[in-house]
Symmetry: C2
DNA sequence: TTGAACCCTCACATATATGTGAGGGTCAAC
DNA sequence: GTTGACCCTCACATATATGTGAGGGTTCAA
């Protein structure tokens, strides 16, 4: 597909797709006329990138963990230097810290909302349906 | 305490503490000479802010959820407009999405690391191998 | 009384992720 | 063959979090 379709399907501006390519998070082949050509799996890939970005990871880190995230898990031994593995371990721990921080704070917000809706004027229905929970905490 | 001590105890530059104040995440009283004065609880408060920031939340959101995070849970009913509660609910859901995204990806990284360490040449300790291999992209 | 170690404000600089637009090709439909 | 919807590169603009430094007070101890 061309960049326009990928853009629509991932809800990501063309500008950003080109930026991610420049940052080497994704690649594209070129058609004879110079247009970028993407194959299907880039839809998921781009959405994964968006998710990580939204979760607060910077591009330079995403670039490093992206090779670990292939779905049929193809490990590239030659690519994994000990330095990269160390970085990966540190980053995994950092992600765990972020997760725990977010969980703690989200739970506080949830609690607050629960208490407010309990004590709130009983005439008004607060319509709060917690979209929550699926949280083991392991490293 | 003055800004220098808070800075050291929270590992946050003075510049940033002033910035957080300007953004109204924290407040300070002033001593007669104009120096900022903070009380103990700002140590935790600032660390909480740092955690949320590191987890990817922007300051304008942190500002909104901060009132829900007081430890002895003092709910300010008059402050909570229905709009703010809606924002809060949306933000809680957004945090949950981030959490799940981070968990998913962290688990993938963990898995990758586990598989690499299993399949690695058993003679070599993972952080002391001769660092001479093809390195196409990485740190 | 001088100097070190604090503090103040103000303002410009940087990095990162993103938007916007100019100037210009390609291609299919009318 | 013109039009409209695509695409390209390049470059400047914006927002956010942060660094850095100038120019200048305050406090305290040697």
């Amino acid at each position: 597909m061309r960049i326009g379709e990928l853009s629509e399907r991932t809800n990501t501006s063309r500008r950003l797709l080109r930026y991610y390519e420049e940052q080497m998070l994704i690649v594209s082949t070129r058609m004879p006329n110079g247009y970028r050509e993407y194959d299907e799996r880039f839809v998921d890939r781009v959405m994964q990138i968006r998710g990580l970005l939204d979760a607060g990871l910077p591009i330079r880190i995403i670039k490093q963990i992206l090779p670990c995230l292939d779905k049929p898990r193809t490990i590239h031994f030659p690519d994994a230097t000990p330095e990269m593995l160390d970085t990966l371990r540190r980053e995994r721990d950092r992600m765990t810290e972020r997760i725990n921080c977010l969980i703690r704070n989200r739970d506080s917000v949830s609690e607050y909302l629960a208490e407010v809706s309990k004590g709130w004027r009983p005439g008004t229905a607060p319509s709060s349906a917690p979209a929550q929970e699926r949280v083991p905490a392991g490293a």
